[in-house]
């Protein structure tokens, strides 16, 4: 495995095998699998779960890692090409990234969307400009439009809680949040649920439609897996017989990169905070998922997070296990 960048790069069977491996490494630890192996962790965007879970994953497999993040005493990394570096930045990404990669057997990279032009973010311009600099196997730790480690963990979580694949009803719902957040998690989640074979509904207000290429990619995946994809702004319609609601806020695609316009639009939807009233026509034991961090009382009510519907903590723990499976496959010499 040279890269773990997108679930779409793998077949349904390959993803199932990774999920199985994640489970096996939980029940049957392999503390010598990656003995002496190093994972470089490059965070160009902030992190808590990803930072902690990758470090823990490498230790559990007998290896180790090191972290380079922008809040370290490295004087800002220059990213522009052809620049005369007479300002603050003392190092260019063209040197920093290959060097950091060269110390590891693999590298994990996190770089959020620029959130200026949606075309660039859909094309993963920023993330690809980084991976083009290296030969080392790499892991996407969240890019502009993808978060494959989150999606692999979410797939395992759906399995763990016995959510049906074909016939399972998955609602990906927008929620209110004071900031215009990236599209990486909703785009990856939508595709994952469709690829798993579920009937997926994207529930969002007008102006927060996911980009057409994101929808199209999920529709292709659903056609292959026997699932389906649709979207609506009608909460009641979306939640009908739902097995699970996955809440997440994201930026307005109508006003992408235009913060004031986004702000004005989102403030009309302060009521999009998931609470028990959303579940009236869902399955009795419908579950609540979220990638975290989540704002209580804004994205979701306390009664949900603190009640039996929420599976956000085991979902977060699955990040570590999913990543262990990827690292084992990438560095452990297993087929």
């Amino acid at each position: 495995m040279k890269a773990f960048n997108d679930l779409a790069d793998y077949s349904h069977e390959e993803i199932r095998a990774l999920v199985d491996l994640a489970g096996r490494l939980d029940s049957h630890p392999e503390p010598e699998a990656l003995k002496g192996k190093v994972l470089s962790l490059l965070f160009l965007s902030p992190s808590l779960r990803t930072l902690a879970s990758f470090q823990a994953a490498m230790v559990r497999l007998g290896g180790g890692s090191f972290v380079i993040s922008p809040d370290m005493s490295i004087h800002g990394l220059e990213v522009r090409d052809g620049i005369v570096m007479d300002g603050v930045a003392a190092e260019h990404i063209r040197e920093a990234v290959p060097v950091i990669a060269s110390y590891g057997d693999a590298i994990g990279i996190r770089a959020f969307a620029d959130r200026k032009k949606i075309e660039n973010d859909l094309a993963e311009t920023r993330f690809n400009s980084l991976t083009e600099l290296i030969d080392t196997p790499y892991i996407n730790m969240e890019s502009a439009m993808n978060h494959p480690c989150q999606s692999l963990a979410d797939w395992k979580t759906l399995d763990d809680f016995d959510m049906p694949a074909n016939g399972g009803k998955f609602v990906l719902s927008w929620a209110y949040h004071p900031k215009a957040l990236p599209l990486a998690v909703p785009a990856a989640t939508l595709h994952m649920a469709a690829m798993r074979g579920m009937d997926v509904t994207v529930l969002r207000p007008e102006g927060f439609e996911l980009p057409a290429p994101v929808m199209q990619k999920a529709i292709f995946a659903a056609e292959e897996s026997g699932g389906s994809v649709r979207e609506t702004a009608d909460r009641r319609e979306a939640m009908e017989d739902a097995h699970v609601i996955y809440a997440k806020s994201w930026a307005s695609t109508r006003h992408y990169g235009d913060r004031p316009a986004d702000q004005k639009l989102r403030e009309q939807h302060l009521g999009w905070c998931v609470d028990e009233s959303w579940f009236g026509n869902a399955k009795d034991d419908a579950r609540f998922m979220h990638c975290l961090p989540v704002r209580r009382g804004v994205v979701v009510a306390d009664e949900i997070l603190d009640g039996p519907r929420s599976i956000v903590i085991p979902e977060a723990r699955n990040r570590m296990l999913a990543q262990m499976a990827v690292l084992h496959r990438m560095l452990g010499g297993t087929s």
Copy 2:
């Protein structure tokens, strides 16, 4: 061992066994004891020795750790219950703590006192609100009123330097410091020395008495161990035949949570800086201990720290060894 929170949770014999294990792990390393095991380290208050010594301890036992601290790029963790999180904090402690704990086989947590109401701090309201969120075994890395790792290291240090248990004279002395520091170390130290069976004197100016429940807990421990506990403001009386003086500054309990009043009172005691003149009627080879960090020329004179009385460096090294013993017991499957 599900928690290492307070020396008082263990018998004298159990503590002695931990101290012995710490020594054995120093002379007979066990670099495979915790192979593949992970310690989560959550610092809600700053640290140097605890941070370094826990990481080193896990490596020496063949495992590893990861650190989450407030100076990382995590946008402040919300701690208030029932809050609408529309401000700066992007994550609530109710999610962050269980998630961080879920990546480790055990978690170490540091959270200093709130220093508002002494009742709350004596009840460990803040620390308990964190440990209530988790099922994982945990280690108290300093709470409002306790610092069991420091105390275990101090017990070993007293052994290493052949301080008598019954019959040994231990002076816990207040010292001047420009800030109102927490009571965790003095409270834990007093109890530890009493539990070890020593004759303990708390030496402090008026207004800096330790809280009654703290004194009472130490008196109970002394009754069990054959030690004794008393307090005085008279330096000469306290130091008579002392084997060791343990210096530490702490907040005025008379003005707890009232910084200006505390400040006014403590400034009357600028002379409480331990120097050679304190040792006139102590044992000839009386020792000086301090948990560090220590302010030179304020809490203690250079002549003491740089002279033969000071054992603060081996005392600090014992932090690592004591913690290795706790981790070995907690995660290594030893009885």
Copy 3:
């Protein structure tokens, strides 16, 4: 090996053996060599490569490390002697350094030059004041006038790219940079190339001569190895038949510690940016080296860094390998 502080402390053969060991650990990993061993890493000056490469090195050898750096939540460390610590600093270096060292089997220390008086920096006053506090084996991770890990990596890089030892022509060239940088790398590099037996030319404008003791040390090394050392301000003369140019900016020694005067002088040499025109009379396949970080368009042109002459990435990777050799020798019980 009690200290790795200066290549000059070792014979030519001993350095060759370390370089060979570095290569062997790359081709034949030893992931159990330092099982359970701990390296303390103390950064009193910032770092990226050193930070990452030492952590990776310890993992590859089966041990681990921890990092203490000034951007952590440690309230500034006091360094002055005999001071009354009633200000911001809560801990003195006289406690912090021995304690941090005591948690490791060895300690790496980075402390840049004070850049006030050149005599003090040449005498390594600051670095020596730190190592005098400890008994632990230590590694110089860059001091005022030395950077032996960089030099060992550079020696290996010259070998890797088949640069002749005796008869090889090595140009150490000053380059423009907006700031007055330390002399550690040029001083160490000059000595390394001379010790390796090369014909070394220091190319620099007037006012940027390296200090006489630095030149003298290199001349001694060249006499022993069959190499030579000279200096010039004439680029054409310096580059004649050169095998390699090693670019680096450094402070004006004429105006050492006087930033405005240094600034005025260096700004007369904005043209000292290595580009293809420099290589007219060099060997056809002459190489470009730099310790990184490097400012593109200021120290060196993009065409060089992105072209076949540049070997800065393998040079940086050799930092990890060189340090693995040192650590293996220091902690692995090999002779």
